[in-house]
Symmetry: C2
């Protein structure tokens, strides 16, 4: 098949890994609209729309809510480098790959990161955070990952939000994988800075990082003694561009990415946040039921599992890469492998955004069954799909 | 006209400002291809292609040549924060808005930026750079803007490259507006770090920053005492992702933007670099001839004018914003205003990438003539377009 320049076309994948997820054709159409200048009044209207829609998805009244011109990791860096100054202490929840990354970034800001650890696959106990807060003289911020993409764990945030308020620390939350798929109640939970990515449960292409700053975060910004070390991610400069009157040029925002994000957000809110969460929950539960019925073990702590991303252990004697390659090359399905210490030990299956559908869940269960059978993994044929079907019926009857 | 979700569609503009430029439909088609995972072997092939094409456009053999996941300004930040450590001295050419921005960013890296100034609209004299180099004990780097987007000046680089070598300093060059439209001979001119944007003469959408690091830059990186302050822009981590064996996950690269960039680069090289430069030169000369024939004054120093971006003085008594608004709202043409100290004093007209065509040059001359006439600016009707036509004929006869 010939691509635009006569080269082999890139293949079409069903994206069921840890993100990016597949993009709805309506979002692709918005991406392909003619480019707009970054100061065009028509684009400023698109920026305003996008900020308003993001506030709804973040469940916040924070005025300063916008997409950064970088991927989710730039959101992590922006949150940390705007919040922290050299010498500041930050307590970081570390129970996976992305908590570890926060430690590294905080250190590069010249801050003193204090880890609060839990085993990978388990949540961070609020008591452990509290005890770290008590041991430190003055803590500027607490940072935790809401949805640990490396392990499939969903971190409860209410208690940590309360602790942050009590100890006068900012609460920074990584919602890269959760936003749009699980509730992220920025205002109700007392989150001061929250960032995400566009390419997971929001269903937009990768390239932007939605971020929001609350009043306590703005107060901390106003009290800074030093400039934010990143000019590109300095939220005060970005505020003048996105919200100033008049708008002050900062950088050339990518109109195609912002138009696509706006369209994806419109679709999320047209479906409704509650319906979105329920769709992700139901499809995730069905997938997990099916995987367990096949005899596979889920990695994350029971009761704290993400519905949008499922980490499943590779059974003994199975070549995990061969399974992923079979899915990709023979069925066009992408799933993820393990990161860091989980490399080779788990698969990560995402049902996020437009990718979170009944047919995708069934497709990946059935493909996995075939790939495992080929390596001699014993299972009752069809049991995964059958069980998933039962879960949907059960969930549907619960709703009725 | 209804957009994808029934909202008013965004307008279609002819982009003749300082960038973004308009995107060829073939590039848009690549942008709209299905999303690929950031570790998909098919995407790794796209990354390899893109790096190879970028090397050709940068005229370099540098292996470490890739697009950063951010806009041109992230390229500036990446160049400076990878090259500089706290306390380092950097000599910065300041003859416009973007040189000033480099000063600011270098200071945020903890470095000591030493400005070498010229009037806005004039080039930096190599002698002035040399004298700054002599006055400083040890200079880590020299940074200059090749194409000052704020003034329309093209900075010659060969002499500065020679000085950098002689004084053991790295040469950092901002080629955001020049790459693809003017020659940027990274190897021949002794440039150690060069960055650009995708949305100008390369003709791709905004969102990525191509960057290249030469051997001397890599040696300096290897000798660093401290980590690069930005994790997101740390070129050593990016190298492991873009070029490692195996590739190491760093962030989720935006496959649509990289696919669009690859297609735009293919089109640049299919036309041929020499033909590209000639097209930009010819259309720029015709536009400038036409503007001068209309009685307008060009801002930049004669003989050092960019062909891809023309700064033209706003005549006395003319409301510059009204002219831009007339072009945008009545004819769908975007041109730029002045930045910083030139705000309200100049217009900036870009003929870049796919936007650099004879019909666009004629269209903007004619539209400008009408908008100026409406404000009572005296000119011989049609003289601009007529003169531009003469310039094309002359240029064509020269080539024959």
């Amino acid at each position: 098949m010939a691509g635009p320049s006569g080269e082999t076309a890139t293949p079409v994948r069903v994206l069921l890994g840890p993100g990016p997820s597949s993009v709805h054709p309506q979002v692709t159409a918005a991406l392909a609209a003619p480019v707009l200048g970054h100061m065009d009044p028509a684009f400023i209207k698109v920026m305003d729309d996008t900020m308003a829609l993001l506030r709804q998805v973040f469940q916040t009244h924070n005025a300063l809510t916008l997409p950064l011109s970088g991927t989710g990791s730039s959101g992590m860096e922006a949150a940390l480098c705007n919040a922290l100054e050299p010498g500041d202490t930050i307590v970081v929840g570390v129970n996976g790959y992305f908590g570890t990354r926060m430690m590294e970034m905080a250190a590069r800001c010249g801050a003193r990161p204090v880890p609060v650890e839990a085993d990978w696959g388990r949540v961070i106990a609020p008591e452990a955070i509290e005890s770290a807060l008590r041991r430190q003289a003055r803590v500027k911020a607490i940072a935790v990952v809401h949805a640990e993409t490396s392990t499939g764990v969903l971190q409860p945030l209410e208690d940590i939000g309360r602790l942050a308020q009590e100890h006068g620390a900012l609460l920074i939350v990584d919602a890269v994988t959760s936003l749009g798929g699980h509730a992220v109640a920025v205002d109700d939970w007392g989150i001061d800075i929250c960032y995400s990515g566009t390419q997971k449960c929001l269903g937009a292409p990768p390239g932007l990082a939605p971020i929001t700053f609350g009043d306590r975060a703005l107060e901390a910004l106003a009290k800074r003694q030093s400039k934010v070390q990143s000019w590109y991610l300095d939220i005060s400069l970005l505020r003048d561009y996105w919200m100033g009157s008049p708008r002050t040029y900062h950088h050339t925002a990518s109109s195609p990415l912002v138009l696509a994000l706006r369209e994806a957000l419109r679709m999320v809110l047209a479906e409704g946040l509650a319906a979105q969460f329920k769709r992700h929950l139901t499809n995730g539960a069905a997938l997990q039921g099916g995987l367990e019925a096949m005899g596979l073990k889920l990695f994350a702590q029971e009761g704290r599992r993400l519905s949008v991303l499922t980490a499943v252990r590779v059974p003994d004697g199975i070549d995990e890469l061969r399974v992923r390659q079979a899915l990709l090359n023979e069925e066009g399905i992408e799933i993820g492998g393990g990161l860091g210490e989980l490399r080779g030990k788990i698969w990560r299956i995402g049902l996020m955004g437009y990718s979170s559908s009944k047919q995708n869940a069934l497709m990946v269960l059935s493909a996995l069954e075939r790939a495992l059978a080929r390596q001699g993994f014993e299972l009752s044929p069809g049991i995964g799909v059958e069980t998933a079907e039962r879960v949907w019926k059960m969930m549907d009857s619960l709703a009725a």
